[in-house]
Symmetry: C2
Subunit: 181 residues, 2 copies
DNA sequence: TCCGAGACTGAACGATCGTTCAATAATCTA
DNA sequence: TAGATTATTGAACGATCGTTCAGTCTCGGA
């Protein structure tokens, strides 16, 4: 159902038209071509996320909830690196960066290094449940909804971000050493 | 160049054949069809990762290094949820789970909740730099190689996993409360 | 009431797709 | 070397793709 299911090029205009109960010619008449349809879909996603988008780890669930069935399309947008996907990623990253910079300043976020890079890490990690939604659903049980799944992984994610996962400095030291080599 | 660039259905057999300097007919003769070619590519990736694959956060760099130019294909494999992609994800997840269970037992990994779910979170977060490689490269500067980029984000990632990112319990408490509601 | 503009359809076109096939070149076996 | 097997090609086929187009339907304003 739509580009989100099998990707853009694997979804024909005739499929889309049939799902909408109209003819293929009308789709082209309205959107000016397949690329126009894609742009309209991208704009629709951006519009749905216009009022509030955030890079905070806990907010991915809300984004997915707002998008509903459109979230596979969003995942493909960001993963494929289309213009609209890039723009959206940059927006999420910018908000994440602002949140981290402000948090470091007022003491609610630990200073673990260069804030822009930290924001990048947090952003891509926060998007992981969206991009790997298929895998997560499969592992946690196909019956659940995407929202349930995201709620299930929210707690461990929050705890990792709060208390850390590794009790020793072994990994951090190893990475630092490799970086100096 | 290959399925990794634009996806499976957007890459024609004639493209692949031309890149290999042979005819399209020969590709089909050898692989039995486009699906056979895909299966052969999947098997090749699995073979390259056969000796060692791990879910540890620091090991994604090694996986990418071993795959080299094939890593976009791997990202698409796992993201699209093909059979081979599912199998690979399950393997990474299993190793990540074993690592975490063992770590909790010997005290090197903090007990932040249900180990299978924690392993799932760690696995998808570790795969994020691979799936979002395009975005990360774009943000950090197109000039760099994938390996350099992964090394650049390794340090903050390790620190987050070691010391945590949030200095307060606000997020964890909010998530816990939402979960009980 | 008429009429013009947009909504809409279905057939058709050229391009490209995956695939087949007969024919040829290359390589191996006895 | 003779014969069989394999590698390889290029043309062709049917299907499907995005797109075009002539024509029909719908309906609000003069």
């Amino acid at each position: 159902m739509g580009f989100g299911r099998n990707g853009f090029s694997a979804t024909s205009i005739r499929e889309v038209a049939a799902a909408a109960g109209i003819s293929a010619g009308l789709v082209i008449h309205h959107f000016g071509g397949k690329d126009g349809l894609r742009r309209a879909c991208d704009d629709r996603i951006l519009e749905l996320l216009e009022k509030k988008s955030t890079g905070a780890p806990e907010a991915v669930g809300e984004v997915v909830a707002r998008l509903g069935d459109y979230s596979p399309y969003l995942a493909r947008m960001i993963g494929d690196g289309s213009d609209a996907g890039n723009e959206l990623f940059d927006r999420i990253l910018a908000e994440s960066r602002a949140m981290i910079v402000a948090g470091v300043k007022n003491g609610t976020v630990r200073d673990v290094g260069d804030p822009p890079t930290v924001a990048l890490v947090v952003t891509i990690q926060s998007l992981a449940p969206l991009l790997l939604n298929t895998q997560v659903l499969r592992v946690l049980g196909e019956g659940r909804t995407t929202g349930e799944v995201l709620r299930a992984i929210a707690a461990p994610t929050a705890k990792i971000y709060t208390s850390g996962l590794f009790a020793t400095d072994a990994l951090a030291l190893a990475v630092a050493e490799a970086g100096n080599a």
